[in-house]
Amino acid sequence: MATDTRSDVRFGGLAGADLLELHRRMVLLRTYDERSVIYHRQGRIGTYAIFWNHEAIQAGATFALGADDWIFPSYRESAIGLVRGLPAQTILQWWRGHPSGWWNPADWNVASISVPIASHVPHAAGLAWGKKLRGENGVAMAFFGDGATSEGEFHEGVNLAAVMNAPAVFICNNNHWAISTPLEAQTRAETLADKAVGYGIPGVTVDGLDVLAVYGAAREAVERARAGGGPTLIECVHYRAAPHATADDPSAYIDLARVEEERANECLGRFERLLLDAGVLTEERAEAARKDAEDLMRAGIAAAEAEPPADPELVFTNAYVDPPENFRNG
């Protein structure tokens, strides 16, 4: 199959094999998300935060990272570890409320999923700064939404990274909605990237549905961070085309016509058309990527469901290295 694709075409500085890998990762994330909504409806996972049409941001930005670099996800990027090979089974267990859904961040250089909004931004700043102090390589990339930029810890984290000249990249997923709160109720700033001015760091705005634009901005930011140029804020703009989570009904507040527009322009199809038209990707290859991803999800959910129920003893495990004697008293 590989023989019938063109490897000489370059988009956004990426050649054939890289473009196909980027496509594969988007398919993987898309499939994870679509299957998860079904699994939720089947009662096989709990409440789930949908990231449909956020794949260009997640795959594009992380494609600029090396193995030593760290990813700090919010719950909207729950499955972002897939791009590093983190098993689907693990992430599914996280959404199934099973303790085996937690991983060691150091195994994947992927921090734990941060549920409270923006409070992981200082962690990314601290890790990047701490690595720099030790003379180690490593850029920290944190993901958060538009609503997160209203939080104090967004400000405190980005400011700390800027002051310490830490090698960090802050990826704002501006999908225009924080559950039901629209962007204009969140800020009076013309763009969220403008906030970078206040920190003395570069801020850029890109089309969040254009994976190559996201990748390009991230690559520049990562290169600058590595070269000692400090952090960058990248705002990836799109419009949320799916509910906030499985428990949300956006028809009560969202502009449904705009959602339809956005869905018609969804990021994976857009990238696929580009690659197909250029001869980089074939229909067969795209189908194979989808099938691989579906197989991975089937195997992942089967493995998750085959795991024995969690041992209730785990209630008492892991809160402390050296627990207080009385902590089992209830």
Binding site: A106, W129, L133, R134, G152, E153, E156, A319, Y320, N326
Partner: protein
């Protein structure tokens, strides 16, 4: 042995632990150039350099959140919160991350950070320089809490906290930062967490206290004719239940003293422990002498809030 004030002993501990372990670093507001507003971090910047004694932006949540990331990069950060109440903006980090992150990784990643701060009232300071926030900390799972009352313990407990594999909050009673000197072992000195100190042996009444209230209990004991045993618990979590229960078994009477507001203060936890485990040893009700359920007052009238020798004496007299 050196004769040091409590805050000098804190400084001694920081110098000793930074010299002992290259992964230990100090960060906070005004900890570097100024050496801390109470001089607790004096000399660290000159001795260990700007990478290991860091003046941070004025942002407590960012400071503590940054320390979480520093742990992930292999550091053992010691975070100074400039004052008790200034730590409140960092409670989100403490509750949502510091106390939970290890658990969240299935026990596979450690967060050996220390948060230390001056706490407590009686120092004629403006609003929000006087609080006793220990209950917020000790109520947070995943966190350990130590409170020294003597210079030697200030050094030894802080050393323990820094070496501990779990996050530890050390509250330093600023009222007694410089009121007296005590013998402090030179070089490495470690006081284990979870071991109470019998500050004074006695047989009639047990006074349970920590921080600056230990000295108040000692003065009350001096003023009383009955024999008071004073248990300086030193560590709220882990708590030395055995030492408290042993003293209650001996005396049968208990007065718990703390300056934090009364309701759901740590004294309630101590009283519940004694009620559950030592009810048949008791010859009277467990009494508390505490601050009141009000905001810490204006300093010209703060003495009306702080537990006094007279209030402790009155409580003991009502039991005997």
């Amino acid at each position: 042995m050196a004769e040091l004030t409590l805050v000098e002993a804190v400084n001694d501990a920081l110098h000793t632990e930074l010299a002992r372990d290259d992964d230990v670093m100090v960060l906070g507001e005004d900890v570097g150039r100024a050496g801390g507003v109470f001089r607790a971090t004096a000399g660290l910047l000159d001795r260990f350099g700007p990478d290991r004694c860091v003046d941070t932006p004025l942002a407590e949540a960012g400071l503590l959140g940054g320390a979480v990331g520093l742990c992930m990069a292999g550091w053992r950060p010691v975070v100074e919160m400039q004052y008790d109440a200034f730590s409140y903006p960092s409670l989100n980090q403490l509750i949502t991350h510091v106390g939970r992150y290890r658990w969240r990784t299935g026990g596979r990643m450690q967060f050996p950070l220390t948060i230390r701060m001056p706490y407590g009232g009686g120092v004629r300071a403006p609003e929000l320089h006087d609080d006793s926030p220990e209950a917020y900390y000790v109520h947070t799972p995943g966190i350990k809490v130590a409170i020294p009352s003597t210079p030697a313990d200030a050094k030894g407990l802080l050393a323990s906290a820094i070496r501990d594999p779990d996050p530890v909050v050390v509250l330093e009673p600023k009222l007694v930062y410089r009121t007296s000197r005590g013998e402090v072992p030179e070089g490495e000195h470690v006081v284990p967490l979870g071991e109470a100190r019998i500050a004074r042996e006695g047989s009639d009444v047990t006074l349970v206290a920590y921080g600056a209230m230990v000295a108040v209990c000692e003065q009350a004991a001096d003023a009383l004719d009955v024999s008071c045993e004073i248990v300086d618990i030193r560590s709220l979590r882990p708590l030395d239940e055995r030492a408290i229960l042993a003293s209650v078994a001996k005396t049968g009477r208990v007065v718990i003293v703390h300056e934090a507001p009364r309701t759901a203060g740590f004294g309630a936890e101590l009283a519940a422990l004694i009620a559950e485990r030592a009810i048949f040893d008791l010859q009277g009700p467990v009494l508390r002498v505490t601050g009141y359920d009000v905001p810490y007052p204006y300093w010209t009238i703060e003495d009306a809030y702080m537990p006094s020798v007279e209030r402790v004496v009155a409580a003991v007299n009502s039991l005997t």
